[in-house]
């Protein structure tokens, strides 16, 4: 692999800057793509951020974009920007496996809506990023392609399940990436890898072509090195899609231009419950973040939403319940793995037993149990009532606050293997991200200094449904005021 002339390894330039260069002809999309592919070739052996690198199609695509620029056309706001796609986003003719053996080699006959929108904006897909199998995990260790390592410290996990996408951005392989967030799967790895990750309001980004984990919670979300890039990516993938019934019929967002408008006059609540179980160094960073917001003109106060304490339990009933149904279709009949047997039931059983990993089986069984006769109301029904209570609890807080602040994860990145056989302790790393999914609200994780171990801490900004503009403004102020290096 040769390095493109005039580039040097290191963090990629911002997506906005790359696109501006490519659109104006100052840099070629091909050169940018080569730089990205070179960085991957040099670093991904260690990090394992990618399940699949699509170098050939990326090069062809970059040439197309260069040809369009040469012909005087505008390839779009992401012209020539390399992007990593989580491997649960369908890409026509390109393997989409959710990092599961059961979908080994499956090539969808269609593109996800977000993939179409990225293409229309001129982005260059360089590969499918690694993830926890079917997005079930918080460490990207349950992937059939082996774990992803945290580029900040490769003995640590990158978080999950979009750990490959977060690591790709953190390692400088691509300036932006797409992940999916069902219980924190974009925000938590963003926090652990020291990048920006956002979960949109449920319904603002199409789920068509996102392989379902828990349909009522799943949202595709952007990962980026900067808040502005995350907003730009959200603007491109967001907006109504008639192929997704739950897609909100609203105009596409246009937030990239409002990001830097500041927080003067806003009221921001520091969410007490999110600090309860947090590592002291993490909690210290959040206190510091609150000071940054206050210094920027926001009114900062402590708020309590006690209902969020029930989020984790409700989530680990609702998400597995939906997953148990969503993952029934992997039965060996139409696509993916088949382990043959004498009859169809045995074939289904053999295929699913061989094709799914332990965490996926655990959640399928948990969800099947939660929905089964006799337990439906005690577990699933109660969880849906808790969901109502959480929404009501946030509503009270938002009567006073424009946005809420808390940590994204209670700790910094943990060691590989530390929680793999202890599901409950693994699940607890999502305790601060899950309530936003249950409520359907947007939230964003912004890097804000490091913990006592020198690893990144993410500050999380939560906002009411459809208040992404407020959320991005707060995030941009935190980004600008984030401490550089050093322990809290």
């Amino acid at each position: 692999m040769t390095e493109a002339p005039g580039t040097s390894p290191g963090p990629a330039a911002s997506a906005a800057a790359i696109a501006a260069d490519v659109r104006s002809g100052r840099r070629s999309a091909s050169a940018v793509t080569e730089q990205s592919l070179a960085a991957i070739a040099a670093g991904d052996g260690e990090v394992n951020a990618f399940a699949l690198v699509t170098a050939d199609s990326a090069r062809r695509r970059a040439e197309e974009i260069d040809a369009r620029v040469a012909a005087g056309a505008d390839p779009g706001p992401l012209a020539g920007v390399p992007v990593a796609l989580k491997d649960n986003l369908c890409t026509r003719g390109v393997p989409t496996t959710c990092c599961s053996r059961i979908l080994d080699g499956w090539c969808p006959p269609y593109d996800a809506t977000v993939v179409e929108r990225l293409a229309a904006a001129g982005a260059v897909v360089v590969g499918k990023s690694n993830m926890d199998e079917f997005a079930m995990g918080s460490s990207t260790e349950t992937s059939a392609f082996g774990p992803t390592r945290n580029p900040r410290d490769t003995s640590r996990v990158p978080g999950g399940s979009s750990g490959g996408s977060a690591a790709a951005v953190a390692a400088g392989f691509t300036p932006i990436a797409l992940g999916s967030d069902t219980g924190g799967s974009v925000r938590q790895p963003a926090a652990l890898c020291g990048v920006v990750g956002m979960k949109p309001t449920y319904g603002t980004v199409s789920r068509y072509g996102l392989v379902a984990f828990a349909s009522s919670l799943d949202q595709v979300g952007p990962l980026a090195a900067t808040v502005a890039d995350a907003a730009l990516l959200f603007d491109i993938i967001g907006g109504h899609d008639e192929r997704d019934t739950t897609s909100l019929d609203r105009p596409a967002p246009r937030l990239a231009s409002v990001v830097d408008q500041g927080v003067d006059g806003m009221t921001i609540g520091v969410l007490a419950e999110y600090l309860e179980g947090a590592d002291p160094a993490v909690a210290g960073r959040i206190a510091q973040a609150a000071e940054v917001l206050a210094a920027a003109g926001a009114r900062v106060e402590e708020v309590s939403v006690p209902e969020v304490r029930l989020g984790l339990s409700a989530y680990y009933l609702i998400a597995p319940a939906e997953a148990s149904s969503n993952l029934a279709r992997y039965d060996g009949v139409r696509y993916g793995l088949r382990v043959d047997a004498e009859d169809t039931v045995e074939m289904n059983v053999a295929t699913r037993s061989a094709g799914f990993g332990a965490e996926v089986k655990r959640r399928i069984m948990l969800g099947t149990y939660a929905l089964s006769a006799g337990y439906l109301d005690a577990y699933y029904g109660q969880a849906l009532r808790v969901r109502t209570r959480i929404i009501d609890g946030f509503a009270v807080a938002y009567e006073r606050c424009d946005a809420l602040l808390g940590p994204t994860a209670p700790t910094t990145a943990f060691e590989l293997g530390a929680k793999l056989d202890d599901p409950l302790s693994m699940y607890l790393s999502d305790v601060c991200t899950i309530p936003s999914n249950l409520a359907g609200h947007p939230a964003i994780s912004v890097p804000f200094g490091t913990g006592s171990d020198g690893l990144p801490v993410g500050a999380q900004v939560l906002a009411p449904a459809l208040a992404e503009a407020t959320m991005f403004k707060v995030a941009a102020v935190l980004e600008a005021g984030a401490p550089v290096g050093g322990a809290a």
């Binding site: 019934t245 939906e322 149904s325 289904n348 929905l371």
Partner: protein, 510 residues
Amino acid sequence: MTDVRRADQDGAGEAWEMVVGLEVHTELKTATKLFCGCANLFGDEPNTRVCPVCLGLPGSLPVLNQRAVELAMAIGTALHCEIRPSTFHRKNYFYPDMPKDYQISQYDEPINVSGWLELPGGRRIGIERAHLEEDTGKTAHAGASGRIHGAEYSLVDYNRSGVPLVEIVSAPDMRSSAEARAYAAELRAILVACGASDGKMEEGSMRVDANVSVRRGPDAPFGTRCEIKNLNSLRSLGRAVDFEARRQIALLESGEVVVQQTRHWDEGEGRTVALRSKEEAYDYRYFLEPDLVPVVPDPAWITAVGASLGPLPGERRARLATLVAGALPAGAGGSPDPGVGADLEGAPGVSDADQEQISTVVDLGLDGLVTAAVEGGIPARLALARTANEAATDAAAAAGLDPRAYTSLLAMEVAGSLSATQVKAVLHDLLAGGGDPAELARARGFEAMADGALVAVVQEAVDSHPAEWDRYRGGEEKLAQFFVGQVMKATRGQANGKAVVAELERLAAR
């Protein structure tokens, strides 16, 4: 009329009563499937009407077809249901013809609830619900038998996967196989009248399952029921219900119990047999479909759908009965009162035979032809008989018939210019290819009979049988039939009997 009938075919003397409820699945006549834009057509090449949604590919999502919802609302309106805000659930079970391994179906909040259907005899059968759901794919079994049991392997075609269905669940209100058949027939006529279904049971576009139980008399609690599947004709339905009731009675009379189960009707063997299913008890784990949102019809929408409905079979039968009753000579059945349409069913003057013809015509949607003919001056009974007996033999073609052409054909019969046999022959041509009835008659050489030729043939018959002619002239009127027979023989049935008699009378009076 019919309230309670005994199920004991053997006349054992026990007051056994059968209790029947029907679950009818009807495919809706939409252009596309319930949740995707694939064409709602099959019989096509296998797996050519499929897309990510109806194949259940990972990442695909359902989007509800508005027309399917409106047809469901039309069915609800026609069945006097309450049309309600509704939701979709997932019914989870594994089966290879079901691509997602769950069926999207309406569960505890169906779009239509609490209606009724009135049988032609006037009895009302309750409708518990009529809900929307998706169909499955189709499985073909390879191996000697071509049936599921004993097949070495199976082949699945998903063209039918995702076709919209409405499942109509009756109350357990039927008390005989005849009532069950009448209900199914009437429901079919209503579905066709709504434009919701083509009602073809044999082709699977309307599928009937029967829940059957028996009890000792109308006041006894309901017995344990069995569900019978695979009833693909009204005849099978009737036979299966009778068989099953007798089977249950025999069990109970010999001191055994009825086990609640699903049974399959074996048409060849004429009996029901228990279905084989896996050991696992089915636990469908219903939960609200997260990929779809509630359907909340507002009153304006419900009204608009109702307004688009044409008259329903009951009303249309009453209208024909009015015509028939109105055609009666004064005093035979009282004068018809246009304000009491429905009461005319079974009214004096409208015979059972009339009623049967009326039902046939309405079931096939041919009542427009009868009405047009009557308005064109054709006697109601003639229009009804020709439509029910002749036009009905090719209902599809009859539905496309030009009512004016049909009326002018029947007018020729009334005028005596064509015989009944000739009219039937011309109608056959008209159904086959359309055209002008007078020209079609001419092409068959019938017109020649009408002007002059008949006179010669009758004269010849008279000349050849002088003895019989003398007796006829002497007052033996029945000999007219002899001459009509001779003329028919000579013309190979093409003569008009009435015209022959008229000519005989003319000759005799000379």
